[in-house]
Amino acid sequence: MAKKKFVVGCFDDENVLFPAVKKVRTAGYKIHDVYTPYPVHGLDKALGLRETSLHTAGFIYGITGTTTAISAISWIFTKDWPLNIGGKPHFALPAWVPIMFELTVLFAAVGMVLTFCYLCQLAPFVKKHHFHARATDDLFVMAIECTDKTNVDDLQAFLSNAGAVETNVQVAETGWWLGRYDKDEMPFENKEVATA
């Protein structure tokens, strides 16, 4: 993967971060990502990220589980080996509800977690570039991707002006980025930035 150059600005307060995100984006810079120690609500909107579809995937995994349970059990108990249990019907749907429910939950949970790990490229032994060691502690770390035209010094000054407590330049290989910036979610054109 190609190496890219980033200007990194670190913020220590989410109330400074939100206006800074707005300023940086209005100035036309492309924010690669913001790394935060906890889920900052509204930051995804402020960055113009689209909503995740993970829950839709979860729903699909869930109904796969239900279908697996009902089709497997009904085939086994009506076709493959119909057991006579006190003369009761072979197709005993009410008795299968518990297992159908459990498999729904199991498939949805396992599928979602695997999908989550795949999308975020999370796995043991995965090595990633970390822009700042304190991004998991108490800093909100904004990484801005540089183009040929970017004046690095100007951008650093701009970030300091916007309230960054620390700025630096890093060259990094970032791996794949599956998050998509959504043009429709541009928050600064007609609505206020959500300062959550």
């Binding site: 913001v34 889920p39 949970a109 989550f116 108490d138």
Partner: protein, 481 residues
């Protein structure tokens, strides 16, 4: 400070002290980085010793057969299934705290959910041992799985509650583990990024799956947590419902009752919270986490205990009433002689259960008692003894005298290997918990940081400022937002 994060200053702070994000990290990660205390070693070695005793007891059972236990012709389920249901019940609090309280937006769950979930997973691990070794020929345990086999294929019975239990417990264990671990990933990253030895950095690097804290990843993480919580909520209710079906679908007097599912679920939450209390009262002291697991947290859990304890109490009384009202002589005999008559062979266990589960938790109607650590700890132990009696009462008093007087059993008391098996699961549980407390962040760091600025003690002043504004100003700001 967003107005949407407004929380009344009348509410007790969830994080005491003047904390910053860095201090939260420091306080919670410190026990991981420090050398364990002497007390930790003593506790850990006692647990391992208990575990070893359990392993030996199980070894005897596997080698010589179920005859090592005192089960007899009518008491086919004795201590083993009692302990199974007891442990599964305890394993309900963690997922309840993290899932149901997440959906109900209860902020106080953040202080206790991590340890409670860990406890859940260890308790379910202990529970699973009992039905597996109860099979006798444990090497054929895989027969419970439905897979195409060379015996026909002879399938498992999908209409049987015992098989539903296999699915319920294994699903519950898997989902709880995934939920717990997905929450641990960001916290492991926090430990990794401040590690000062190479080995620690490497190990926590592996455990944290390369987490960076990217906004997109957090967005997906939030979605994942919410959906897992939504799935776990009915799951946690289904698991003990299905455990109760093991009894309720039978025709044994004392088991054959429709009240069982809600009564078992309430009892499970009751005993689970009691176990969380026993552990939290100790953990907060030993690791100096009093600022995060506050008296407010303890009080909230005590409220759940008095509620669920009373639900269980109503269930007991309803059963007694129905034992009389049905005018079924077998039901009447079980409920009014085998159980409620103090001088019947097992009457002591019924009244032990009543005293521990129904009467004693009523002390928590008093705020002073709810906020007293000694009382809380004492009560939590008492509740778990009571809940063990409950399962013993349900199983043994129904089985020892059934329809045929000629089959009535001799008095059942466990052998040392039965007790040893039970002690062994205590060893397993506490060995795991000691390791967890030493090597894992015992409190969800990221979640505490998330609530810090609304419910931290030093941020409550911001709320006062908001409260001073006039209502119209406040409304205007919220709308502009």
């Amino acid at each position: 400070m967003s107005l949407l994060k407004y929380e009344s200053q009348l509410r007790e702070p969830l994080v005491n002290g003047n904390k910053t994000y860095a201090q939260v990290t420091e306080d919670i990660v410190r026990p991981i980085e420090a050398k364990p205390s002497k007390l930790w070693y003593i506790g850990f070695y006692i647990s391992v010793a208990l575990l070893m005793f359990g392993v030996y007891s199980v070894y005897r059972e596997v080698t010589y057969g179920i005859g090592q236990w005192n089960l007899n012709k009518t008491i086919g389920w004795g201590w083993d299934i009692t302990n199974f249901v007891w442990w599964v019940g305890i394993g309900h609090a963690g997922t309840l705290i993290s899932a149901i309280l997440l959906l109900f937006r209860q902020g106080w769950r953040t202080g206790v959910n991590r340890a409670a979930e860990a406890m859940t997973i260890f308790a379910v691990m202990c529970a699973g041992q009992f039905p597996i070794f109860h099979m006798g020929r444990v090497w054929m345990a895989f027969f419970v799985l439905p897979y195409p086999n060379s015996r026909g294929p002879l399938w498992v019975n999908f209409n049987s509650p015992l098989l539903w239990d296999v699915f319920a417990i294994s699903t519950y264990f898997t989902v709880s583990l995934l939920f717990w671990y997905s929450g641990l990933i960001p916290d492991f990253a926090t430990v990794r990024d401040r590690a000062f030895t190479k080995l620690r950095k490497r190990l926590y690097g592996i455990a944290s799956f390369g987490w960076t804290g990217s906004t997109k990843h957090w967005q997906r993480h939030e979605s994942l947590s919410l959906v897992l919580a939504g799935l776990s909520t009915p799951l946690v209710l289904s698991v003990h419902t299905i455990v109760s079906f093991d009894f309720a679908t039978s025709v044994i007097p004392g088991w054959h009752t429709t009240i069982f599912p809600p009564y078992f679920v309430a009892g499970a939450i009751f005993s689970g919270f009691a176990m969380v209390q026993s552990l939290m009262v100790v953990v907060r002291k030993v690791f100096a986490l009093e600022d995060y697991i506050t008296i407010g947290h303890i009080e909230a859990m005590n409220k759940v205990i008095v509620l669920t304890g009373s639900i269980v109490g109503i269930a007991y009384l309803t059963e007694l009433f129905m034992g009389w009202y049905s005018q079924n002589k077998y039901e009447g005999y079980t409920f009014w002689y085998s159980r409620a008559y103090l001088f019947s062979p097992y009457g002591w266990s019924y009244w032990g259960m009543m005293a521990c589960n129904v009467l004693s938790p009523q002390i928590f109607w008093f705020r002073k008692m709810r906020r007293n650590l000694f009382v809380t700890f004492f009560m939590s132990v008492l509740v778990n003894i009571g809940m063990w009696f409950e399962r013993f009462v349900i199983i043994v008093t129904s089985l020892y005298r059934d329809y045929l007087p000629s089959s009535w059993s001799v008095y059942y008391s466990p052998t040392v290997w039965e007790i040893g098996f039970y002690m062994g699961t205590f060893g397993l549980f506490f060995t795991c918990f000691f390791l967890f407390a030493k090597y894992f962040p015992t409190i969800a760091i990221a979640e505490i940081k998330y609530v810090l600025k609304t419910t931290g003690e030093s941020y409550k002043a911001d709320m006062t400022a908001i409260e001073k504004e006039s209502a119209s100003d406040f409304a205007h700001k919220v709308h502009a937002h």
